[in-house]
Amino acid sequence: MHELAITRNIVAIVGEAAQGRRVTRVTLEIGKLSGVMAEAIAFCFEAVVAGTPLGDAALDIRAIEGRGQCRECGAEFVAKTLFAACPCGSRHVQRLAGEELKIRAIELADKEAA
């Protein structure tokens, strides 16, 4: 399950960026064609964050729709799968979106609520 390795990467990158501060929220962008299951990331996240500065961070996952552009007719279209053909029938498609695997933003607590 590659989602565990990916979640460990997320926690490492966020931990470095947080520089010791407590992380309250992590926002991810995961493309629907990235090959990564958002549900599995959410599941692994709970296990991996225990005992880290992300221990009680909320996790927001934004799913990014797949989009492609046909190299033959130039049309842009929503791609439901990695191998979706253009409505014109061509399979020569440039993938524009949907393969994202990104940490969009993090929220850090400045101090405990006054």
Binding site: N9, I13, G35, D60, L82, A113
Partner: protein, 276 residues
């Protein structure tokens, strides 16, 4: 313009972003999220969320950037040594190790081949490769289901492949996870055996989309199984119109001449690039 989100100004005011959320507890919902705070281009700003002061850092970090950076280092290392590095992927049992054994024996004296063997457990495949006459290092991933670029880098420290050699990285048998992790290879080669379904390219599209070459193996068994080579290649090209395909039998040696020609062309291409 904000280079991160692509909006036309540095101020995010009143922009509505509809999106879908999945929370850590598994619940999923969609809603429209309105930003009514303004910030400059520093991408670090404060605002109130509940009753706590928080700092938002717009990190925009690629999750696999460490692996990709390590893979780029491996790629540069291979280029400096004029090495051809190939990442072999397949389901368990498709015949990657047998294919390598025959290749090593047949090309002994012509190509210097070294092997990194990825498996969850055991040194069995490393021993088979050494028996065939090539240096090999076993990389055990334990619970891991794929090789990552830093494991390959550590393997190279032990293997110490020679100038102008060919490195075969036999990935863990798995058609899902290895597709996502660049190891620094020149090409991924996916091995599909005729005892598997010919629809595997559609079931595991990421792997077939990432591969440059598909080797259809165990063709000696074709008379005994319902497997259409033509259909398998057609489906692979639906996922990846550029994928090349060769048919062979690692058991009988049938079809290996074309595979060796492919290897020779690639080794020549690698040298041409480095000497350009």
């Amino acid at each position: 313009m904000c280079g991160h989100c692509g909006c036309s100004s540095a101020v995010h005011g009143g922009r509505a972003h509809p999106h879908e959320h999945i929370h850590a507890d598994g619940t999923r919902h969609s809603h429209v999220h309105t930003h009514d705070h303004a910030h400059g281009d520093g991408h670090e700003h404060q605002h109130h969320h509940g009753h706590e002061d928080v700092t938002v850092i717009e990190l925009e970090a690629r999750i696999l950037e460490k692996n990709d950076a390590r893979a780029a280092q491996n790629r540069a290392w291979f280029a400096g040594r004029e090495m051809l590095a190939l990442n072999l992927v397949s389901s368990p049992g498709a015949g990657k190790t047998t294919l390598l054994e025959r290749t090593i024996r047949d090309l002994a004296g012509e190509l210097q081949i070294g092997v990194l063997e990825g498996d969850q457990e055991t040194d069995l495949d490393r021993d088979r490769i050494r028996e065939a006459g090539a240096p090999a290092v076993q990389l055990n991933t334990g619970t891991g289901c794929h090789l990552e670029a830093d494991m390959v880098a550590r393997g190279l420290d032990q293997l110490r492949p020679g100038f102008g050699s060919v490195l075969m990285i036999e990935n863990v048998g798995n058609l899902v996870c290895p597709a996502m992790f660049d190891l620094g290879e020149r090409a991924k080669i996916v091995v599909l055996s005729v005892t598997e379904g010919e629809d595997k390219p559609l079931k595991y599209p990421h792997m077939f989309a990432a591969a440059s070459l598909m080797l259809i193996n165990k063709t000696d068994l074709l008379p005994h199984v319902d497997f259409s080579v033509e259909r398998a290649i057609g489906l692979a090209r639906e996922v990846n119109p550029e994928i090349q395909a060769l048919c062979l039998s690692a058991r009988s040696g049938d079809g290996f001449a074309a595979w060796y020609d492919w290897l020779r062309r690639e080794t020549t291409a690698v040298r041409a690039i480095t000497n350009d």
